[in-house]
């Protein structure tokens, strides 16, 4: 793969990539530019690539109509806690399932894996009952506890287990020579090696929490506690009709920062994953 690619092939490849880009870029482009258009222009046909009149008022309205800054903070802090918590829980469980042998291990692993198989719509009613019983509805606890410990975190545990299995057998040996116990081995040796797998887990988890829709709507009822995807549905006119430009402005502000972070972190992330063999 080190050879230079012939120019004709290169042109072909670029052409293909550019064509493929269209369906990926257009909706996002439309979202961002439409947030800068007056409402009457948004659904104009054929769609305009750029607004005829640039109108930034929707962005001001986002903050006026909803406690949007607070909602942004809610989403951000919940997603960060969930990400950190999931990384910790999944790394511990993943390591134990992969490299420690204890009675009942396989049964327990299957029990945990069950979580991977359950759509959230299936368990939302019993979960709501439980949290209501504990007096935790209209708080952020269900949105933090369930993703870390419940079904959504299982994928992370699975990824971590697969990663730890791939580490060479000499690992524990070396750690023992260094005088580390089992826990020390995990914390001082295995965990630092797992950075790329943790990166994958972090991305999955953060996005999952950031985009969570059904759960916040069911659990939360005070606007100041809302999360972003839920807040997006709240920009409506007097008759329940959506205020398109405001909704799209809010949606743009929700998506763009995450995209920027991805752009900045992607090289490290992808190459890190590649070099350490997270191969499932």
């Amino acid at each position: 793969m080190k050879r230079e690619i012939p120019v004709r092939l290169k042109t072909l490849l670029y052409g293909l990539l550019c064509v493929l880009c269209v369906p990926f870029v257009f909706p996002t482009w439309w979202m961002v530019t439409s947030s800068l258009k007056p409402v009457s222009e948004i659904f104009a046909f054929p769609p305009r690539l750029l607004p005829a009149d640039w109108d930034f008022s929707a962005y001001g309205q986002v903050f006026r109509l909803q406690p949007f800054a607070g909602q942004y903070f809610n989403s951000l802090y919940i997603a960060l806690i969930v990400t950190a918590g999931t990384m910790a829980v999944a790394a511990m469980a993943g390591y134990a399932f992969a490299r420690i042998r204890f009675p009942g291990q396989n049964v327990l692993f299957v029990v945990v894996l069950l979580g991977l198989l359950i759509p959230s719509e299936v368990t939302i009613v019993p979960l709501f009952q439980m949290f209501h019983g504990l007096g935790l509805t209209d708080t952020h606890w269900p949105l933090i506890l369930v993703p870390i410990l419940g079904a959504p975190g299982v994928l992370a545990t699975f990824i971590m287990r697969q990663f730890f299995i791939s580490l060479p057998g000499e690992l524990e040996e070396a750690a023992r020579v260094d005088g580390l116990g089992r826990f020390g081995t995990f914390y001082r040796v295995a965990l630092p090696l797992a950075r790329p797998a943790l990166g994958a887990v972090a991305i999955f988890t953060f996005l999952h929490s950031w985009n969570l829709y059904l759960e916040p709507i069911v659990y939360l009822s005070s606007p100041e506690k809302f999360t972003l995807p839920q807040a997006l549905t709240q920009f409506v006119d007097a008759y329940g009709g959506p205020m398109w430009n405001v909704q799209l402005a809010a949606a743009s502000m929700t998506a763009l920062p995450v995209l920027v972070v991805f752009v900045l972190a992607q090289r490290q992330f992808i190459e890190g994953l590649a070099h350490t063999g997270l191969k499932g």
Binding site: I100, P126, L149, F269
Partner: protein
């Protein structure tokens, strides 16, 4: 990075066999040899007392017992969470499925297997399951296929791949609501897509209203939204394939396709397994997009199981029957996952 551990002095004695044994017992093939020998070492090691374990009072804490304890402690949070937030709700769902639950009236009556009888007699079920199968197969094939194509394209030594990578990943972070709204607009009979086709001189179909095209549209919109995640995983796997293998194959006169089929695919097969499990499971959980784009229509053609379940429980207030459908969905997902997991022995090259 693995060099760091390997570079340390490794005299015999304690060999980390436990991890590989765990994997081996769930069906490891690739490293079976090493697991066996390492397991032997482990057995010897476990027979010994904990090294440096001071007074006689601590004799109870053998390495093995300490290992067990650490193991349980490490999995405890996850396990407790699974019991509380997965198994318990699942048990409750099973319990509900044996009841007729009218939420509004507040009645909750035990009806035994009545909901299951109803399930078997449900005239819609056949169509729903057919639609679900079509949707999931379509989604998995398209998603994995496109993700692999994109990853291969981006793995060429081209300038600007970072840009394209970002583009293909971007829908993943866009809110689902905004994404579906835009596509609903684009897929109208007089929408953007048919406008584009008209420029090319083609008369596009009424995408969301035709039985076949509605399903295709729902699948494609979903694929475009999420293919970026699988693409990134594939890309990482591709970059992990050693370049020497390709060079050697080329010296042997292997063409591009042969290299792809004989080297790339086997080497990234574990990633294919992981992504296919995630995608299959995910495909059975998609419903918001369907609710927005087609509401399950035209006819029942895009009513997939999870959407049907949602309708029965939340829209029609048949919570008991909804729970029964949940049990069915769960059984299907579990079965599929077990099948996929078993199949890996046959086609995953080296389960690492």
């Amino acid at each position: 990075m693995t060099g760091r551990a390997a570079a340390r002095p490794a005299p015999g004695g304690r060999v980390a066999g436990s991890g590989d044994r765990a994997a081996g017992s769930t069906g490891n093939t690739g490293s079976a040899g090493s697991a066996e020998s390492a397991g032997g070492g482990g057995r010897i090691r476990r027979a010994r007392r904990a090294p440096g374990g001071g007074g006689g009072g601590r004799a109870f804490w053998t390495v093995r017992r300490r290992d067990n304890l650490v193991g349980y402690l490490l999995v405890a949070p996850q396990l407790l969470g699974s019991l509380l937030f997965v198994l318990l709700p699942l048990g409750l769902v099973l319990w509900y499925s044996l009841h007729e639950w009218n939420v509004l009236a507040g009645t909750f009556e035990f009806v035994g297997g009545e909901n299951y009888d109803r399930l078997l007699a449900d005239p819609n079920l056949g169509e729903v399951l057919g639609g679900t199968a079509l949707f999931s197969v379509g989604l998995v094939v398209l998603n994995l296929g496109l993700a692999l194509v994109l990853a291969v394209l981006l793995n060429q030594r081209l300038r600007g791949t970072t840009f394209f990578r970002t583009v293909f990943f971007s829908p993943v972070v866009v809110s689902l609501v905004a994404w579906t709204i835009v596509w609903q607009f684009l897929l109208q009979d007089d929408g953007g897509l048919n406008g584009l086709l008209a420029v090319a001189g083609a008369d596009g179909p009424n995408w969301l209203r035709g039985e076949g095209t509605a399903m295709l549209s729902v699948v494609v919109v979903q694929v475009l939204k999420n293919v970026g995640l699988n693409m990134v995983l594939f890309l990482a796997a591709l970059q992990g394939v050693p370049a020497q293998l390709y060079e050697a194959a080329e010296l042997d006169g292997a063409g591009a396709w042969t290299r792809f089929a004989r080297i790339t695919v086997p080497l990234i097969s574990p990633t294919i397994l992981l992504t296919s499990i995630i995608t299959v499971v995910g495909s059975l959980q998609v419903f918001a997009q369907i609710a927005v784009l087609t509401q399950g229509g035209p006819g029942m053609s895009t009513t997939v199981l999870v959407y049907y379940l949602y309708q029965q429980a939340f829209q029609f207030h048949h919570f008991g029957y909804g729970a029964t459908l949940s049990v069915l969905l769960f059984a299907i997902v579990a079965l599929l996952t077990v099948v996929q997991w078993r199949m890996r022995r046959r086609w995953v090259f080296n389960e690492t």
